[in-house]
């Protein structure tokens, strides 16, 4: 999207809306936005992990005849336990090899009042980690959002979340990573872009899609496969670190200046 207007338009946790402003029924036409995603004090900071594909939908075919659906579930399970250990409340869109349609995934995220949603994908094309934010143009949050474009009210915050993940990936070290010093290890290469994904576009919360791809050299030769255990570990650990950072940022934003911003438990 061309211009990304000011980022400071965060929704203030107003008291205008009712106590449980969430989408409950599978009536995907409108979605009520969540006015206060963060409960003051950070007690209910819910992270939604969306392991893409599943069931009949295998997703991409990866190295070592691994299906994308299998890898995304494995990443989701590992990330959930990492986040759980750090005291986060985590909701997942699937726990096994089952089909979940795009609307249901968005309903789960919206129902959970998520402070962040990470949709996890894997692919054989490209290099490194691709971070995606919805290509919907930013809009002001309103009382009711159109289901198909609910994400538009959160795009600005999703861009910040993407940027936080991008920064976290800079602190990783993997074989074939982008090293400036000529070493054969370095940070996981990451790209940040916009796309339109069914599901993510309907999420009324900061949401990004993270696509793990093999790490390639300049000649497009694969150096590190997506099935590489070290690569996977580095990725989930940096995602967990990013979510931790994200909570600190969000809490600092919502906390009154007096009460010492940016505390992490």
């Amino acid at each position: 999207m061309a211009a990304v207007p000011g980022f400071g338009q965060a929704v203030s946790p107003s008291s205008a809306a009712g106590p449980t402003p969430s989408v409950s029924q599978p009536a995907p036409d409108t979605v009520r936005p969540v006015p206060s995603r963060v409960v003051e004090g950070g007690r209910r900071f819910v992270v939604v992990l969306d392991a893409a594909h599943g069931g009949d939908d295998g997703g991409a075919q990866l190295a070592d005849s691994t299906a994308e659906k299998t890898l995304t579930l494995a990443l989701s399970v590992r990330l959930r336990s990492l986040l759980g250990a750090r005291g986060f409340q985590v909701t997942t869109t699937r726990e096994g090899n089952v089909s979940v349609d795009a609307n249901t995934r968005a309903q789960i995220a919206n129902h959970a009042n998520a402070a962040a949603c990470l949709s996890l994908h894997a692919s054989e094309t490209g290099s490194g980690v691709h971070i995606f934010v919805s290509s919907l143009g930013p809009t002001e949050p309103t009382r009711f959002l159109a289901w198909k474009t609910a994400q538009s009210a959160f795009v600005t915050r999703s861009l910040k979340l993407a940027s936080t993940v991008n920064s976290a990936l800079e602190h990783t070290t993997v074989a074939g990573g982008t090293s400036t010093s000529g070493a054969d290890t370095g940070p996981i290469p990451a790209t940040l872009a916009r796309t339109s994904l069914l599901g993510v576009d309907s999420m009324a919360c900061p949401a990004i899609a993270v696509e793990m791809a093999p790490i390639r050299d300049a000649n497009r030769k694969v150096v590190t496969e997506v099935t590489d255990p070290d690569y996977q570990t580095q990725l989930v650990e940096s995602l967990a670190a990013a979510v931790l950072e994200w909570r600190t940022d969000v809490e600092a934003e919502y906390r009154p200046a007096s009460s010492g911003a940016g505390k992490t438990p």
Partner: protein, 218 residues
């Protein structure tokens, strides 16, 4: 006794119907031949009668997720719809080449048609409010075998969509919106990811050159 004139009439009619049957079979064969010949002549490259022109293609690079402008010389028909199809066929031919920066298996007649329609004025606004109204909507009909053979992934599918939109706009600037069909029918996604149910604005491809610009530091 059957009168003689009736016998004559009978044989004349018989002769005529046999002749008509023969003619019909011949015409059918001819039509079939013409159809097959048409299939052969139609494909990826534009008719040789069209003079070669220089065109700007937006070629995707999977490695860094960017679209690169590439100048190509190719025969381009005058008719805008045929022109659009020739441009996209060239683009997909580049993707099918062995050293492609955005590999997609090459299939015959991957771009079946490109239709140009006036942008529907009254249509509800789809995405990103500040859409340029007016201009033309390009409907790109892709073949099912192309979509089925397309690699699955958010990045690769998004780049295909954007490079098609960008290439159309770069050469036919009147095109402001693009919609996709696969085998003449709407399809949910290209290969499991990129949303094909929506209308794409060609400005998205222009402003996309991704990686560095999309980020916003908190």
């Amino acid at each position: 006794m059957i009168p003689r004139y009736q016998k004559v009439l009978f044989f004349v009619l018989l002769l005529v119907s046999v002749a008509m049957a023969v003619l019909l079979v011949r015409l059918r064969e001819k039509a079939h031949e013409r159809l097959l010949k048409g299939e052969d002549l139609a494909p990826t490259t534009a008719p040789v009668v069209a003079p070669a022109e220089s065109a700007m293609l937006l070629v995707a690079n999977d490695l860094d997720g960017t679209l690169l402008q590439e100048q190509e010389s190719l025969p381009l028909p005058q008719d805008p719809e045929a022109r659009g199809r020739a441009l996209l066929s060239k683009l997909l031919e580049i993707y099918g080449a062995p050293d492609s920066t955005h590999p997609i298996p090459l299939v015959a007649r991957a771009v079946q048609q490109v239709f140009l329609l006036p942008v529907p004025e009254a249509a509800e606004k789809t995405r990103s409010g500040e859409a340029p109204r007016g201009g033309q909507l390009a409907v790109v009909n892709l073949s099912g075998s192309f979509a089925d053979g397309h690699p699955a992934g958010i990045e690769t599918e998004t780049l295909t969509v954007l490079s098609i939109c960008g290439t159309l706009h770069a050469n036919l600037p009147q095109i402001s919106e693009v919609r996709f069909l696969v085998d003449g029918k709407p399809r949910a996604t290209l290969a499991g990811h990129a949303d094909l149910t929506r209308t794409y604005l060609t400005t998205e491809a222009v402003s996309e050159p991704q990686a560095s610009t999309a980020g916003a530091t908190p």
